[in-house]
């Protein structure tokens, strides 16, 4: 264990190397570029700067199939470009780690300013049905730790795992203790060892394509089951109980750091594995009269929470990349027990 001062983005890159990263392909984008920079000249990592994010995601798919633990990192605009091939990786069952350091959107939005507008894109960005595992840490230390988890979960589920961050956490400097974490081994035999056919078409065994609905249904079920099973190993969340409050405040990523200021007035729940949602939230939420989700978008996770809990959930929406304690408190105070 050593203590070092690291930036959030650097922490991801350094942890990735420790977790066995063998190949990285990426395209420069603020606020994620430091991950690419940090990997330059790392002896154990083959690094390619690609022409765009579409090339990047497809290069890491090829690299992963060829036998290397592979990763790319981007922000919202690049993440949008990657969506088609994220679906491909789910269909072909390729382990990958994809980092998205969110910034204000839509479109070019406000580069470098943090946002949480890609939450639903993580889950539903590609066409068709798939069940991604998404982690969203809120500190440099946690980014470091969850980079390991992301690589492990990718290997265990044979799927692309998304490590979500934001311009705030990604650019944050904190002192962390670098611990040794367990590292999952590769299970997928590399290309050049057999006669397998990896395809984005619905397939089964040696059948490279089919229009049999039964085969497709079976495959989608298999994806869902597999993802849920692996996700269970990483039930990451933080819960700060508050017996004197009747309101549960839910926040994640950058905003969850702010939520700690209000722990005297509210109970706080912070999901780290944001998808598939951790089931424990049901029991926790059951103890509170009101549920409030605070997020840096126009209301995304709030709908997921509502759907999970089958009850009304309030939203505090923080838009524009500005985190202002006074402003947040103004919106939040009406949920206090004494008002």
């Amino acid at each position: 264990m050593t203590k070092i001062l690291l930036q959030g983005n650097q922490a991801i890159a350094q942890a990735a190397v420790k977790a066995g990263l063998g190949f990285y392909a990426g395209y420069p984008i603020t606020p994620a570029s430091e991950i690419l920079h940090e990997l330059v000249d790392k002896k154990t990592v083959k690094l390619l700067q690609m022409e765009d994010e579409i090339a990047s995601i497809n290069a890491i798919i090829g690299a992963s199939l060829a036998g290397a633990k592979s990763m790319t990192a981007t922000s919202g605009p690049g993440f949008s470009l990657m969506q088609e091939s994220i679906g491909l990786a789910h269909m072909m069952e390729v382990p990958l780690v994809i980092v998205n350091v969110q910034r204000v959107g839509p479109s070019t939005g406000m580069p470098t300013l943090p946002a949480q507008g890609d939450v639903m894109q993580c889950k539903y960005g590609s066409h068709g049905d798939y069940f991604p595992i998404v982690f969203y840490p809120n500190s440099v230390d946690e980014l470091y730790q969850y980079t390991f988890h992301a690589f492990n979960a990718a290997e265990e589920s044979l799927s692309p795992v998304i490590l979500l961050s934001d311009g705030y956490v990604g650019h944050l400097y904190e002192t962390i203790e670098t611990k040794e974490y367990e590292i999952s081994k590769r299970t997928l035999p590399p290309l050049g060892t057999s006669n397998r056919h990896f395809t984005g078409l619905t397939h089964e065994g040696s059948l490279p394509a089919t229009s049999d609905p039964e085969i497709h249904r079976k495959f989608i079920k298999h994806l869902e089951k597999k993802q849920k099973k692996v996700a269970k190993k990483y039930n990451g969340y933080e819960y700060i109980e508050n017996a004197s409050s009747d309101t549960l405040l839910i926040a994640y990523g950058a905003l969850s750091r702010v939520s700690y200021h209000f722990k005297d007035d509210f109970a706080i729940y912070r999901p780290v594995r944001i998808f598939p949602m951790v089931e424990d939230i049901k029991e926790i939420a059951g103890q509170y009269k009101k549920i409030v989700v605070m997020e840096m978008n126009a209301g995304q996770y709030v709908n997921e929470v509502e759907r999970m809990l089958h009850r009304k959930v309030h939203l505090i929406s923080i838009l524009g990349g500005k985190i202002d304690l006074q402003e947040i408190w103004t919106k939040l105070r009406r949920f206090r027990r004494d008002t």
Binding site: K46, L48, A55, A63, L65, A68, L88, G192, N195, S206
Partner: protein, 256 residues
């Protein structure tokens, strides 16, 4: 009857050994009768056999389209990626395992249209992969829309009065970055064989543009009676010129 089949099977596996590169149970292909794609498949197998490529050292990658189905026929590890992205997938593979022969077989729409940007940059990086571009000048699978290599004036589903756009100059792209470029046709079988074999031997990025007929969604609309007529039109149109550093529009040859 049983006996004859056994003999024929024995004959196929013993004599035409290049067919061993294909998954026998997947033959015949689902391509239209008279489609040129099968000729390309045979040419690629022949070149693989000549160079002793094996399951242990070869990977085939395809994109999307009729020709995108190519990868699935090979009795090797193969990848059928999304539309236009065969090149970056192949680059990822090659960068991780230099010992693999990484071969792309895909169409002109896939490699030069939607995926054109990747060719531009892969040739700049000069990644040691071989790209076999089945250039049939049409989007066959989707019904016959104009493609990047459709000739000016050629009638297509989306250009019934004749295509107005200039066909893409793949030669110029590859030459600009000193990569291997060859143009050939499925009619010029021996020439095509040489172009593909040489491309597999080439160190660095190689690109073979092989002119191929799509009778179903191109030939018919252009007045060809059958695939044979289309095939013979390559004989009349293209002349071999292996001693030049710039191929004219009606020439086929290898530029290194």
């Amino acid at each position: 009857m049983d006996k004859i089949e056994t003999i024929q099977e024995g004959y196929v596996t013993k004599v035409i050994t290049h067919l061993n590169y294909l998954k026998q149970e997947r033959l015949p292909t689902q391509w239209c009768p008279g489609c040129g794609n099968g000729i390309v498949l045979k040419l690629v197998c022949q070149a693989m056999e000549k160079l002793n490529f094996s399951q242990k050292d070869t990977v085939v990658v395809s994109g999307i389209g009729c020709s995108g189905r190519s990868a699935g026929f090979f009795d090797l590890d193969s990848v059928h990626s999304v539309h236009g992205r065969a090149i970056p997938v192949a680059e990822g593979i090659k960068n991780v395992n230099q010992a693999l022969n990484v071969i792309i077989i895909s169409g002109d729409g896939d490699l030069l249209g939607i995926g054109g940007n990747h060719l531009l940059h892969a040739s700049r990086r000069n990644t040691n992969i071989s790209i076999i571009c089945i250039a049939n000048s049409i989007y066959g699978m989707t019904g016959g829309q104009s493609s990047p290599t459709t000739e000016q004036g050629s009638r297509t589903l989306t250009a019934p009065e004749g295509n107005a756009d200039t066909p893409i100059d793949a030669q110029a792209i590859l030459k600009a970055h000193n990569s291997y470029y060859a143009r050939t046709t499925v009619f010029h079988f021996n020439h095509a064989d040489k172009c593909i074999t040489e491309s597999f031997k080439h160190e660095g990025l190689s690109f073979v543009e092989i002119r191929t007929q799509c009778i179903t969604n191109d030939g018919r609309r252009r007045g060809f009676k059958n695939a044979y007529e289309m095939l013979m039109s390559y004989k009349d149109t293209f002349k071999i010129n292996d001693n030049t550093d710039t191929l004219e529009h009606n020439e086929i040859g290898i530029i290194r």
